[in-house]
């Protein structure tokens, strides 16, 4: 009887979270799915109605679509490569005995706490500006020509900014994992004459593998939906050179009011995220069992 009571109490305690999240997930998503099969234009409602899959066809035939998918994946892969490799190297470096380790940690982690619009605008104006930025100052100092980052290499510029924001995250998590490595094991390996490289490959890397998986998965979730950094720097341009899928959907929905097409794009974004989520959930679930 008591357990029965506890169980229903437990259910009652869980209900608000579950109901809220369920409504938050299902209601808007159902709307999006519905709109994706509709012609719906708040500015020109004459031709509104059911249109089948033509929104998907339109979205698909839009040259910006393929470009935006490609840009989305480029951002994810490039930032992951930079932050994971850079994060491992940085974690190994910071893990060495040194003076002022605490301050080094604080300096390295700081960019993660900078809100995306600030990070993007600071890089755009203070660092990469072709006339007043620090990079331009450096280029001129060496007698070179300053680079117009956002005009010539917009996607690269965005990747640099986003990588700067996420490198601290990767470093912090990999460092935490590294510091939990058993010191005795390391010593034993050293005594056995294992050099730095073989110690790294056979001992450190396997130990960090779980942390690396988590870093990749979590970052992927966030990197798939990079938005503010694009909004305040290139606004997706020039052309569609730096437009990713979230940004294209935003443009279609709130700037062009092509709600049907935007919703079709949204559904595609959900499918893309689900493919990633499938792998993410499995890995996180495995870690939960340990």
């Amino acid at each position: 009887m008591a357990t029965q009571q506890t169980r229903s109490l437990a259910r009652l305690m869980m209900a608000p979270s579950v109901v809220l999240l369920f409504v938050w997930m299902i209601v808007p998503l159902a709307f999006t799915l519905w709109f994706s099969f509709q012609q719906y234009n708040p500015l020109n409602p004459i031709r509104d109605g059911f249109v089948g899959f033509s929104n998907y066809a339109l979205f698909y035939s839009n040259p910006a679509f393929l470009q935006s998918i490609l840009n989305t994946l480029t951002i994810v892969v490039a930032v992951l490569l930079i932050t994971v490799i850079g994060g491992i190297l940085l974690a190994l470096l910071i893990d060495q005995p040194m003076w002022g380790q605490g301050i080094v940690r604080i300096l390295v982690i700081s960019p993660f706490f900078v809100m995306p619009p600030v990070a993007a605008l600071v890089w755009k104006n203070m660092i990469m500006h072709p006339q007043y930025g620090v990079f331009a100052d450096i280029a001129r100092f060496f007698g070179g020509q300053p680079i117009d980052w956002f005009g010539q290499y917009p996607l690269t510029a965005i990747i640099i900014i986003v990588a700067w924001q996420w490198l601290p995250f990767a470093t912090l998590i990999l460092l935490t994992s590294l510091q939990s490595l058993d010191g005795e094991q390391k010593e034993a390996a050293e005594m056995d004459g294992a050099g730095f490289v073989s110690r790294f490959i056979y001992l450190t890397l396997p130990h960090m593998s779980r942390a690396i998986t988590v870093v990749i998965l979590i970052q992927t979730i966030f990197l798939l939906s990079v938005y503010a950094e694009i909004l305040v720097t290139t606004n997706g341009g020039p052309g569609y050179a730096s437009t990713n899928l979230p940004f294209l959907v935003y443009q279609k929905a709130l700037l062009e009011f092509k709600i049907g097409q935007a919703s079709a794009g949204g559904v595609i974004a959900v499918i893309l995220a689900n493919i990633v989520a499938f792998f993410a959930m499995r890995a996180v679930g495995k870690n939960l069992d340990k």
Partner: protein, 274 residues
């Protein structure tokens, strides 16, 4: 001999780490430095030594009413965090102390809601907000931020609560403590550090959220993320002002962040890395 090598090693590691750390920190440092320059100084090339003028700070307030946005950021991040805690604490509590077969599935499902791309529901949410009058309202945005961070809050609390030993509960029960006493005198003191950590991380996440806060506000409820985004098109000479506004926008959360490194690792890896 061995000693000398160690010192050398340490010196080298220190130098390398400090150089890399300062390079990574440089954009923040340079922003703070530039915020103490005049607009003329700010565009006169690389210079690490500002004249120390505070005019950009007073101008940011005078021109754009900076304080209102700051206040909104505080209200939204703290308010949404308290809302999330109110909803999440009972849930995490019951999952940690009376887990069922489905507890793990529910946790995984909650996490999966976090993976839904915000942009996919942008328009429906925009419509719902418009039709219910929640657009550009603080309460609407608080609910929004609460919802997007709720899975992380539940997860984080769950991993903390799970570490509270169940035997203590049993002992208290044996001593005849009522459920209420059990919660107030036994569990709460043990749960407070976990709740505080969760709160800290969630305030940081809410403060920096830059999709919904930009898209669902115009003036009244706009927090610092929306304010800073309005600087995206240059307005004449604005480098020093941008720096001052940026410094003010990141300073409080940066300092909070420094104190929450451990919780950050734990919260964002869902307890997988500690």
């Amino acid at each position: 001999m061995a000693r000398a090598v160690t010192t050398q090693h340490k010196t080298f590691a220190t130098a390398a780490a400090w150089i890399v750390a300062l390079l990574i920190f440089f954009p923040i440092l340079y922003t703070v430095i530039t915020s103490f320059k005049s607009e003329q100084e700010a565009i006169q090339g690389f210079n690490l030594f500002p004249s120390g003028t505070m005019e950009s700070y007073s101008e940011v307030q005078a021109q754009s009413g900076y304080f209102k946005f700051f206040l909104n950021s505080v209200l939204l991040s703290v308010g949404s965090t308290i809302l999330a805690l109110l909803v999440a604490i009972p849930a995490a509590w019951s999952m940690a102390f009376s887990p069922t077969k489905r507890t793990k599935d529910i946790l995984m499902w909650m996490l999966s809601t976090k993976m839904m791309p915000a942009v996919a529901v942008l328009f429906p949410i925009y419509l719902i907000f418009r039709d219910t009058g929640l657009l550009d309202s603080r309460i609407g945005l608080m609910i929004m931020l609460m919802l997007i961070n709720l899975p992380i809050v539940v997860w984080m609390l769950y991993t903390y609560f799970r570490e509270i030993p169940g035997e203590i509960l049993e002992a208290a029960r044996m001593d005849g403590a009522s459920l209420w006493n059990e919660i107030v005198y036994v569990l709460t003191p043990m749960a407070v550090p976990g709740i505080a950590s969760t709160m800290l991380l969630n305030i940081i996440l809410a403060w920096n959220e830059a999709f919904w806060t930009i898209r669902l506000t115009t003036t009244e409820a706009a927090p610092l993320t929306a304010f800073i985004s309005s600087f995206s098109s240059p307005q004449g000479l604005f480098w020093a002002k941008l720096s001052a506004a940026s410094t003010l926008a990141i300073a409080p959360i940066l300092i909070m962040g420094w104190f929450s490194q451990k919780q950050l690792v734990r919260g964002l890896t869902f307890g997988a890395v500690k």
